[in-house]
Symmetry: C2
Subunit: 209 residues, 2 copies
Amino acid sequence: MSASRSGAGPERTAAILQAATPAAWVEDALAHLPELLQDHANCEKKAASTALALMFAYPEDRALGAALSRLAREELRHFEQVTRAMSALAIAYIRQRPGRYAQGLRRAVRTSDPGRKLDLLLTGALIEARSAERFALLAPRVPAPLARLYTELAGAESRHFTVYLGFAQAAAPEQWQARLGSLAREEAQLATQPDALLRFHSGPLRATA
Amino acid sequence: MSASRSGAGPERTAAILQAATPAAWVEDALAHLPELLQDHANCEKKAASTALALMFAYPEDRALGAALSRLAREELRHFEQVTRAMSALAIAYIRQRPGRYAQGLRRAVRTSDPGRKLDLLLTGALIEARSAERFALLAPRVPAPLARLYTELAGAESRHFTVYLGFAQAAAPEQWQARLGSLAREEAQLATQPDALLRFHSGPLRATA
């Protein structure tokens, strides 16, 4: 499924986000490339493990299981690609504590079904949409071995956004839109407010005294 | 990497196992094909998630991370393949409680490093070796859509065995062999003693009164 055929180009993913990434975040990210790439690698692993967790939680949903299995395989391939790019750029492994973004979104997810499944799918869609937006912003600015990869990843994450959103719409045809609005407000705050740590999904760095 | 090039054909994987699968298990498995396939599908998901857990536990080991990411992608592809075969055979989803095998092996894994990493790699190798042995035993006996898949999986799991064993040998050149012997004894018991549930890695079914 190509991004154009599914109608999920960057314009569609951007439409779901309630705030654009601040220009300052792009500058901060480029000024902290090793931290950005290490967090990006972690995020790809985390994206695969989140998809697997959904497969374990809803094993009876075979269509979801098959779609998420393919999605997890793509995220793992991205993990391998960004790890290779780090090696090519001679960026050593950095032990990092996670940013506040994923944890903040997780807190907004309801703890029991049917609400939980919808929330997990919608937060999945939002994370993919934000990732697609940021890869597109970074692609023209990152060093050579990354530029092409980040362009490809912008397209891949747009497709993943469509996968998650499609299952969310099917799971709750009446409710997904209102719930998406509420989760997207939360997501926009997490992605735009000044942050203490530069991460792939963080806000721009807080000015230090 | 092909099984023949790496020297990890079925003969190598069989050599690590301290007991062959009892003939009775093969008959029990064929008589409980839906349960077998559902458990097989679960095992492929579990194999991917176990590989991911190792990637999260040892993120600084980039060679391990890259190898396990590829391995997890293969396991996910197997999950998709067996799920499609279940649909082709009109086998509905079955909610199953897990067998005792994985839990039994997990209990044998030490809880702190450096022993823990070695044990996780060696139990990974043992599970792949047992899987390869059983796919080879089942391949000539299962219905058409599965026969070719199970032949392929026997080869794939043999390769995975080599991956896990190679990292185990590198992690503890002096200790891996003795520790493998001890874990393999545990594994052989779990895979051969009469069992209450038919599972992919269970023993043959216990005679009921």
